[in-house]
Amino acid sequence: MHARGKKFPGFSWVIGGEAGYGINVSAEIFGRALFKSGYYVFGYIEYESRIRGGHIFARIRFSNEPVYCHVDDTDVLLALDDMTIVGDKHGIHTHGHVTELHRNSILIYDGELSNIAKGYFEELSNKGIRIIDIPLMSIVKETTRQEKPNLVMRNTVGLGASAYILNLDTEKLIEAIKWRLGEKRKEIVEANINLILAGYDYVKSSYPNVKLNIKPGSVNGRIYVNGNFMAMTGSIKAGMKIWAHYPMTPSTPLLNLANRFKKKYGLVVLQPESELAVINIAIGAGYAGVRAGVGTSGGGFALMTEAISLASMAEIPVVVFEVSRVAPSTGMATKTEQGDLLQVVYAGQGYTTKAVILPGDPEEAYYDAIIAYNVAEKYQIPVIVCYDKHLAESYYTIPIPESNIPIERGKITLSNNSDGPYFKRYAITEDGVSPRPILGTEGVFVLSTGLEHDEYGVVTENERIRTEMMKKRDRKLRSLLMEIEERKEIYRPIMIYGEEDSSVAVVGWGSSKGVLLEATEYLNKKGYDIKFVQIRWAMPFPTDTFLDAVNDVDRIIMVEANFDGQMEKIIRYETCMCIDHRIRKYDGRPFSLNEIVSKLEVILA
């Protein structure tokens, strides 16, 4: 037990309890209510691979200035069970969140249900932690007049209590509940409204002075969304019409979202027997001229590998969203890791041409989705958008996207390019890209195969043609790389945040964007001289742009949430450049701001 001081802007509200307690929904509602009140909000949820029991918690960090990540300190802890406070005996589920509290933090718990000795809370109180003992369960019973009410409803009382403490208008909470539960479930909404008010009133009358205040800011023109949501929104924007998906955490919300929007946007959503079927269905759709997308995680992607290689050889557009979790094998299903990068980059037998894009926040997930469908069709290759659970499921306050990325479908043609028996589907061209006809056009015959083939798609083992075709497929990637580095405003291969001439570069990718942005900004205010360099393309790797970004720095610090430094390996391989320092993490949890700042301070000291 120790009481740390706060150092980062905003407040951090944490709710914890067992799976099945509705932690996720409560966090979503509370985050939205804060957002709708004018705060920048970052919402992070951590859960276990189980439907009931265990320990789940959510951290909602909010401020009147932008926040992009979570912190380890907790300002308000809403504990729905004792485990949330003190942990379980061996720390299997959690070590308890009490150590995150500091002087002036507030702990909300239900003294009637808790088995923790009263003396424990007195001790906390002596350390300056403010305790709110609220009979959540009894309030539910009284309010709903049910002897055995739904345990989940305690959360809502807790939300009402938190609203009083944080000066949050209960109307905003009620709106958020209606938004989440829908107007249709009127009775449930009604019951929840009463519980919010009851929780609010209880704290107001029993603990009127226990408050934390921060003025709202302005978040006009913004939305509060997670990475999966924006990846699907971008897919729909790009004209994706067939979505195939076999459920696998943490990619599954993409499937649910596709189903949610399919009617409105005329999507066909397929959940077939396996990831093998998923990717091959999408390849069939791509062959037939439809923009098709699939979602999966590391294990499912492993199954897709052979078909990715087919798509490369047969030059068929397909887009894969690879949402990674902890590996090897099934690893830790609900935890985060940037450990699938090399699997994705090197997927496929031989030289499998493909593109790999690495969004760093939900806004980028949206734009990268559109880019992915464009690149897949323009260059007739598989494109993989790779991000992790942390980006997939964490909520960010981002600007409403206004796409300036035009839809580009490449060399689609209605006319025949051949006087032979088949269309020259694999015509040798300067940029490597061959015309693609519309299937079913009179007089046009499209032949595709995973075997080496000539310009007509006819199988061949001729050594000259083989050599030409390998070069042709490679030329497509060279052409793509040239386009990426020429149209930087769209493809954004490397992003630099901070002063260009900084002496230190912190290099990262994917979901660590948020925490690195805040950490470098925080340290620069303290007098350090750091820029953050974000790598957004792993294949083709934007070597020139990357070298421009880091050539003049004294030190490079690489930050990755994996064991083996997968991006660092790619950098070495692509640039022959050595990294000076590295920060890695592979315990399944994302980097917190505290953690990155203190590790950078040690390196730079």
């Binding site: 790009a238 004209g239 759709a285 001229g289 796409s403 479908r409 028996p421 199988v459």
Partner: protein
């Protein structure tokens, strides 16, 4: 509307010569399929033929239509993707028993279940030819290195909910043609969904005889066509099961075992017939208006 002129067999002939062994049953399947497609007057550019991996699976190179020679076990899901994208096209998978009943058996089961409107023709010779003679899932126990009982694809197809289930053999091209015609009519012409034809054939190199008898003689003596029996009802699944479980006087039952024209196809289930095929939709340069999605999070 395109004016459909008469399609002839030669329209379906590709200039590429098959690399099959002389006497291979694949020639019968290829020629029969060309005949059927032309007699149904389906233009070759409206047809997509897919193969898996193996000698017979190279058929997309030998039929002049749209073709996709895929990877082992996966032609069925690729065909499904094509059919959902282009419900207006005639999509046919021709693949082997290893492709369909071995490595890709899950796709066979679930495509049948979904009733997607594709025709699946399986070249069933109980042996892996191209890899030089290993047993396939339909090989009897003891044939070469086979250590399991052989798989019955007809029962599997029935249990999986296929709406057209038939078996033929390459020694009787007349019946083969009749069954191919009915299968393609079921899936493409009449839009009733999934059709499946198991075609028994020999491998002249690795499986030329059955129980010591020449292939042709063995089957000629034993095959009966259930759909030609006066007391057989092709719309009764229980009758199909009965004939499969109690062979008629030790005969080998073939023909159309079962068809069901009442179930919606997958394309119908998704309401695709009323719409422009997805693969023909154009996308504006600005993309699709997503404001109604953004509204849900405003």
């Amino acid at each position: 509307m395109t004016v459909i002129t008469k399609v002839s067999v030669s329209d379906y002939v590709s200039p590429i010569r098959p690399q099959w062994c002389p006497g291979c049953g694949n020639y019968v399947i290829l020629n029969t399929l060309r005949q059927v497609l032309s007699e149904l007057n389906i233009p070759p550019y409206r047809t997509v033929v897919l193969g898996g991996i193996g000698c017979g699976s190279r058929i997309p190179f030998y039929i002049r239509s749209n073709g996709f020679h895929t990877i082992h076990g996966r032609p069925i899901p690729i065909a499904l993707g094509i059919k959902i994208a282009r419900h207006d096209l005639n999509v046919i998978v021709v693949a082997g028993d290893g492709d369909t009943y071995g490595i890709g058996v899950a796709h066979f089961i679930h495509a049948a279940r979904s009733n997607v409107g594709i025709t699946v023709i399986v070249q069933n010779n109980s042996v892996f030819g191209l890899t030089r003679g290993q047993p396939s899932p339909t090989a009897p126990k003891g044939f070469r290195e086979a250590y399991s009982e052989s798989l019955d694809p007809i029962s599997l197809a029935l249990a999986s909910g296929a709406t057209f289930v038939a078996r033929a053999w390459t020694g009787d091209p007349r019946k083969l043609k009749e069954i191919f015609t009915k299968a393609i009519e079921h899936s493409y012409v009449n839009k009733h969904g999934f059709s499946f034809v198991d075609v028994i054939q020999l491998c002249v190199i690795y499986n030329p005889t059955v129980n010591g008898e020449p292939f042709m003689k063995y089957y000629k003596d034993r095959v009966i066509y259930v759909d030609e029996l006066s007391d057989y009802d092709v719309t009764s699944k229980s009758m199909a099961y009965k004939y499969l479980s109690e062979p008629h006087n030790n005969k080998i039952p073939m023909g159309v075992f079962y068809h069901d024209d009442t179930k919606p196809s997958l394309e119908e289930e998704f309401g695709l017939y009323e719409k422009t095929p997805l693969g023909l939709l154009e996308i504006d340069k600005e993309g699709i208006d997503i404001s109604s999605i953004i509204e849900t999070v405003l």
